[in-house]
Amino acid sequence: MRYLPLNDGDRAAMLERVGAGSVDDLFADVPVEARLAGPVPGLPMHASEMAVERHMARLSGESLTAGQAPFFLGAGAYRHHVPASVDHLIQRGEFLTAYTPYQPEIAQGTLQVLFEFQTQVARLFGTDVANASLYDGSTACWEAITMAGRVTRRSKAVLSGGVHPHYVETARTMAKFTGDRLVTRLPELVAASDDDAVIADIDGETASVVVQYPDVMGRVPDLAKIAQAAQAKGALLIVVVTEPVALGLLESPGALGADIVVGEGQSLGVGLQFGGPYLGLFGCREKYVRQMPGRLCGETLDADGKRGFVLTLSTREQHIRREKATSNICTNSGLCALAFSIHLTLLGGKGLEKMAKLSRIRAVQTAQALAKVPGVTIVNDSYFNEFAVVLPKDARTVVRDLADKGVLGGVSLGRLYPGAEALSGGLLVTASECTSADDIAALVSALEEVLA
């Protein structure tokens, strides 16, 4: 077995020191009836590296990949070009095979990266502080809702219909058990986001208002207006960003009055990966920092007076507070945070702006081309790199038919909102700097054939 260094001679010598007759004797505490005499029945035996690679490569070949096809999917997971150096650097063994930096003297690499990451996220979001990442955007969104509950000592959250439906479902699942009250609504296939409806739902019992920016249909809500309405009633504004590249062109949510900003960091550095692992971004006002979930890295000095970094404010966490912890989360998404941070460092502010401009421009070009397809209506007035169109037939069927023609044409609202008849003609289309003129032409011609 290529991963196990002990040989039979070693094992015999070690058993002698231990005073046991065999390895099996070391499992004497396991009741005899639960102890298997040999390998678990019904499973194959070990395999060579070549055999495993061959098996996995065969399975991989059964997928149609984003790189193989004209690709227009978004809805919470975005395709952007990731520079080769990002994947090279995160595979440095000292990053890849390190643990949570509980021994700061020999983990300054990870800790400094986290400190840089927190600063990058805070600047991107326009918040005072940010944490060292959570599992993903959807769980970060729920954590923000519960944090707002702790801050305001209220338990009602008003969610815009523009919040990603998986995020809403995640919150709904959790709220069933915690007793938080959620006000939710479906999105509508109209040009404007539901700012006014959300504002109308805010009352003196509202802990938080949750708005996605841009929203699930790509529309850009008026955050300043919603922030003002929320704060007038003593509620916190939580802004969800599922496409952080948008902030290369859009004003930061914090600058528009958001109290807590959460997001999905996947679109920078991480890649699509069929949905995970991704990374949750979390920023907020400084005055709420002790109510914040997740790990935090802070600057300090060592015994020689040199600058160094440590995990800090850990008394909020489960390993100390146990049932009184701010969250039960133990793991963050360290390696994805590293990838995000490296990609953002390679871009810098100007590079991020350039990438955002290209994404937006490709989206406009795609929308202009689609608008000429008979039967297709563009829904949005405002959008960054993602917009909704209405098709003359069930968009789910159209998406499948497009896939049969080798085009990955978008995300149907029917997939996201099963059972919502009014949305069944809706299709979300996304572009990025990866989208070429040929891709747009292929989408248009395939769609014309499918709708004909």
């Binding site: 077995m1 991963y3 260094p5 002990l6 231990v18 046991a20 070391l26 499992f27 505490d29 102890r35 040999g38 499973l43 194959p44 070990h46 055999a51 495993v52 996995m56 070949g61 059964e62 149609l64 990949t65 090279h88 000292e94 990053f95 890849l96 095979t97 643990y99 949570t100 003297e105 020999i106 690499g109 990870t110 840089e116 940010a130 599992y135 990603h164 995020y167 699942t173 069933k176 915690t178 850009v220 902030l247 062109l249 004003e251 069929f274 991704y278 935090l296 802070g298 015994a303 440590v310 800090t312 489960q318 989360i329 793991t331 994805c336 871009l347 937006r360 896939a403 990955l408 700097e433």
Partner: protein, 520 residues
Amino acid sequence: MNEINPSGWRPSISASGVAAPSIETFTDNRALQLEEALIFEIGNLEHCGVDFDDDDLDETLLGGLPSRRSAPVDLPGLTEPEAVRHYTRLSRQNYAIDLGLFPLGSCTMKHNPRLDEKVARMPGFADVHPLQPQSTVQGALKVMNELAQWLITLTGMHGVAMTPKAGAHGELCGLLCIRAALEARGDAREVILVPESAHGTNPATAAFAGYRVENIPATADGRVDVAALTARLGPDVAGVMITNPNTCGLFERDLKTISDAVHAAGGFVYCDGANFNAIVGRVRPGDLGVDAMHINLHKTFSTPHGGGGPGSGPVVLSEALAPFGPLPFTARQADGSVRLVEEETAAEEGHAQAFGRMCAFHGQMGMYTRALAYILSHGADGLRQVSGDAVLNANYVLRSLDDVLDAPFGAAGPCMHEALFSDDGFAEGFSTLDLAKGLIDEGFHPMTVYFPLVVHGAMLVEPTETESKRSLDQFIGAMRSLAERARAGDEALKSAPHLAPRRRLDETLAARKPKLVWKG
């Protein structure tokens, strides 16, 4: 030490025998030990390490976008060579399994096979969008389904929820299944029993799921007090959370008895599977009456820890709980294809009672591929060898050190995958922390310290199956030397580490006036 180094060669013997003078450098670097500034101190807004295909950038198409920012985000950029150097220099300030033994008890730091990294990057898994039509992602869905089948068979359970994103998320999933099952039979219960030796995530999770937590004491031999537990059972107890092997590194011999009693009282048994690596391939938790157990793929199946994540925590479920597991999940169809079962089709697959969704999309695909490659490489026979070698290595460490370090449960028989020691016997004023920091100077990562809480000055050593006998002997030699220094009261130990990139850091300063972002 001599028995592992018969040649007598030591890297520290210098030709002259003269001690090096204390040298200060202009840069603060120490040869290969390189200092590195923050990106905010070396980069700037104009620098960029990415070139774009922007020949046809038509800025007129940017019109009509509301909430435009007036200036780029204030983020420093670096060109590629600067960035590669920055992160490479930082990486060298980290300890890692790739560098040496990492005996962090209950965290399971074992070798991360590079084949697993290679397969995770195969485009059919890494370059597919979670919402592509199912016919276009069969490769990815088949990996999820194949791993699910392995987990079910290895644990002897009935079903598995794949989506939880880490161990604590898995615990929550298991408790929500229990709650959903109880509510489905109209049986509201309020209490979850947790042994006092449990990891902090257990009570945190139970509280998060809306339960009141009650602690169950341990016996003198480091196990759950069965009498106390069964005495507390009743119509208000929803279930128990038990870690097996437990956080003291011992197998809970009476788990089956406990399960039977809990079931008889109408409750469910949650097993924290953080230590499943000690018994994988030898014991199926399903045979012990467990109803739900999360498996940390980053522990038992060696997906990389990555400096603190991402993890992945699938939860195997008994027949009683499986129908309540979260969405989505995979189901193999008669034609050999695999279906992703989401909200819309849950009822068709017998999951109308699924408790909901725990996260966006379908879980940690990148961890599934790695774990499956690890599992296929080892096979049923190799996994059995994994737990055997892990337990043998831990017992070897225990019996090689129990004459110089107090082993609180050493007399109780063999340990499982980790050896537990205490600071009993150290000189006045010397603590577990001092020994741990001394290990850093010896070139090792410290063991887990002050956990479990039930042992004073606990030191939890988990060598894993990754270590060779030679590697263990070197570690044991270092530990014996440190234990003797701690017992003798060697003052130099109290200020260790002396040789790491940083000395002890001031955590009080960090917590009193938190500096969480760079402000210049």
